[in-house]
């Protein structure tokens, strides 16, 4: 009985793995673009990162995003230094990440524009938050473009702003993402 059961379980796991490997395509990019914007009457702050790494598994909709803080470029280099040194503590927390799953089931073989949402955990500054992020997925000849905008509240991730500059940094930062994902070639 037991052996039969385990054989069944094993078969099931194996078939799932096979399913992931065979039908599931990994879509990826290493040059995704993430930018953020902080707007206050006193000052606007913006930065762009063009080296965002993203993996998307089309079989089960799983998605992983990793954003290196050091790769954000600011027009003002001192700001860039302060972003890393004082606010994100990059030495301790080098990257922000999102791991989750697309809620909708997408047919990646069919070109089109899909409204999608991803449910998962957003990790910034060592603090994880459960989030549902809404966006748009454009499938075009085997290439997926994922657009997503969301807000990050500094207090949600324990990012402290000294009172001296509190009027210059928004409490909620808007983040824009554009990831052009291509099919990963099997090694």
């Amino acid at each position: 009985m037991d052996t039969r059961l385990f054989r069944l379980a094993f078969l099931l796991m194996a078939s799932q793995l096979l399913a992931i490997c065979a039908s599931g395509q990994i879509y990826m990019t290493k040059t995704g673009q993430t930018s953020f914007f902080s707007e206050t009457p006193l000052e606007n702050i913006s930065a762009v990162n063009q080296q965002v790494a993203v993996l998307l598994n089309s079989a089960n909709g799983e998605i992983a995003v990793r954003i290196q803080h050091r790769a954000f470029t600011f027009p003002n280099k001192l700001m860039q230094e302060h972003y890393n040194e004082n606010y994100m503590e990059t030495e301790k927390y080098p990257a922000a990440s999102f791991t989750g799953k697309l809620v909708e089931h997408i047919d990646y073989s069919k070109d089109g524009i899909y409204t999608v949402s991803a449910e998962g955990s957003l990790d910034i500054h060592g603090v994880k938050q459960k989030r549902v992020l809404k966006g748009q997925l454009v499938v075009d000849h085997g290439q997926c473009t994922l657009n997503c905008e969301f807000d990050v509240k500094l207090s949600d991730h324990n990012i402290q702003v000294p009172t001296l500059v509190i009027a210059k940094i928004a409490e909620s930062i808007s983040v824009k993402n554009k990831f052009v994902l291509t099919r990963k070639k099997n090694p």
Binding site: V48, R66, P94
Partner: protein
Amino acid sequence: MLKTTSVLFFSLIASVAVAQTDLMKQLEQADDSTVHYAAATFKGTRIINGHSIETVGKNNMDFIISHRFGAINSGAGNFFGLDESQIRLALEYGLTDRLMVGIGRSSYQKTIDVFVKYRLLRQSSGLRNVPVSVTLFASDAHNASTSTPDLPFYTITQRQTYTFQALVARKFSEKLSLQLTPTIMHRNLAEKLLDANNVYALGIGGRYKLTKRTSFNAECWYTPKRIGNTTQRDPQYTNTLSLGFDIETGGHVFQLHLTNSRGMIEKQFLGHTTGKWSSGDIFYGFNVARTFSFDKSKNRSNSNGY
């Protein structure tokens, strides 16, 4: 039946969990194949008097105001030195992220200095392992004071003093950075009888971060009394020791310190330091650096600092 479902259920969970951590693992592994540069070895382009390996960013300009007040042991009548001060004003600009130029004017001997600084090597880990950062520095100081019988100038060339440095620094941890600065200085006119034209010196400096926005800095400039048979410096001049704090607020870096040198450029703190720590002959001083950005390539509604 219950057993069957639970086994099936856990096998499902297990495979999902494996897949998900797998995606993240793959991304993290990709990180190792990139170069990580050590950033912010020092907060400012100066440790205290001397330069640090840092340069200002591309199209950024620093406006630096430096003061050294009078000697602390000059007594209550001189308000312990606060009644008078030496000043240096400077504009320093980043041509690229590695190359910067600067021009400054010191009230001491009415000196105009120009310099160029280039980041040759950047400390990095990951794909490329470089243990130290190296920056090269060259400057010319022009003494614009009027020619006097004590210090007569006959040509413009005589007024120039050149300094060449190789700044070698390592960020040992997030908090501790140390720097060695071998220096050669050439003065076209040795102002005192015993002064040599060429002066060889070594700077040792470092910082220790106390909080995210403050650090404790120390800096010492050592010049051997003689090299071979040549006396390098008139004995009335001494080596320089400076202790201070860096405090950072938004677009400014404040450096507050105590030093036995009133000069703020190489020519002066290597060659003209008269104060002695042992007799309280020290000066309170500060550097304030404000950074402005002139980067037009990125869309921004305001272009100055923050």
